[in-house]
Amino acid sequence: MKSDIELINSEGKRLDGRGPEDLRKIKIEAGVLHRADGSCYLEWGGNKVLVAVYGPREALPRHTQNPLRAIVQARYNMAAFSVEDRKRPGPDRRSVEISKVISEALEKVILVEQFPRATVNVNIEVLDAEAGTRCAGLTAAGVALVDAGIPLRDIPVACAAGKIGGKVVLDLGKEEDNFGDADLPIAIAPRTGEVLLLQMDGHFTFDEFNHAFDLAVKGCHTVSELQKEAIITKYQTVAEEVQE
């Protein structure tokens, strides 16, 4: 799509005033729901995501069970009011795809061998969308899994990089996503740097791709620190309140 908007100016300033390597504002809160085993509420720029985790529990129907390990069933869903012009509710091609890639990313960090025949359910509810919801959802899911007390190898984290106006930048906003040249969301296990999810939309040259990838990994590490901080604050305050 052609547009005459200048997404990034000559001084490297973007539409919302960010520099090329700046993230949007992120707020993470763990353990917000009482009925779920674990939960997380996350705001990432204009994105608002709520995640609830259930399990491990018996996988039903029985034929979905794996006798050697647990299965991970993530469900990504966008609320009807999450976008301009009401979104038709229910799973569509896009959300089924995102559910699948997130399930597979989470499967790599959960110690699934400890729970044969079981399932871990992750419900990702997008309340408000503004580009980069799969990254926001996966990041929130990581925190919710920790909050549920599920054994993990690492806390998964996601972040995107992209190309706008011919320049590689971190964490695309709404206009940048719609009118930009490329988008590269990735998820990693920050301890080992293992890639859990990598998708690409648009075109990069080989060098641009490498640059964008490195940038996104760097973004992931920044977000990872915020995740850890959210979990520790939640449980440390409990400890401190009691100590007066």
């Binding site: 529990r57 006798p67 044969p116 549920a148 400890a239 009691v242």
Partner: protein
Amino acid sequence: MPTKERQIVIPGQMLGTTSANRAGRGTFIEKGKIYAERLGVLNMQDKFIHIIALKGRYDPVVGDMVIGVVEEAATSNWMVDINAPYPALLHVNEVPWEIEFADTEKYLNTGDTILAKVLSVDESKKLQVTLNDRNLFKLKGGHIIEFEPSLYRRIIGKKFSMIEIIQKYSRCRIKVGKNGRIWIDGEADGIEKVLQAIATIESEAISYGLTSRIEGLLKKDTKDVR
């Protein structure tokens, strides 16, 4: 209280090396280093590094006393929900009564609660429980409440000190299952007190001197103590 604070650890956090320490509960080893696998409190004993979980599902271990709810009565066994990720099997040979074939419903039916012991856990986590022990029986009447299974040790206290105090002040019969269930039988105001005490323990679990604080809380509004 400025005493050594309990350190909270999160999954993937490095805790030590295999050369200097030994990996205990709640940890895993990767390339000679020990990492935490779940959210919990760090506990070092000699060379062993353990994680005391703060949250999480009940993980059945052979010999655990659990409170189960019968889900289904079959011809030669019952299926019992013990709050684990998997249902548990109770075979007719594992109950203290003589049962004729297909007569299971007379003794235990859907919705009945039992105090049972985990008999076996196999490789694919197939569970079996038993009622064959002097201190195991069917729980008649009373109420069931649930708590975070990882707080079992805090709820019973050191050598059952906590649960004895609660029992003393509330005048209730209490049975605590390791699977995160408590069975209470007694007067309404006594039950009220137990609920209050359990809620306090749950919210203040990672603190010191909990037993004495709970005693103070219960003492406050009790006149006669047996």
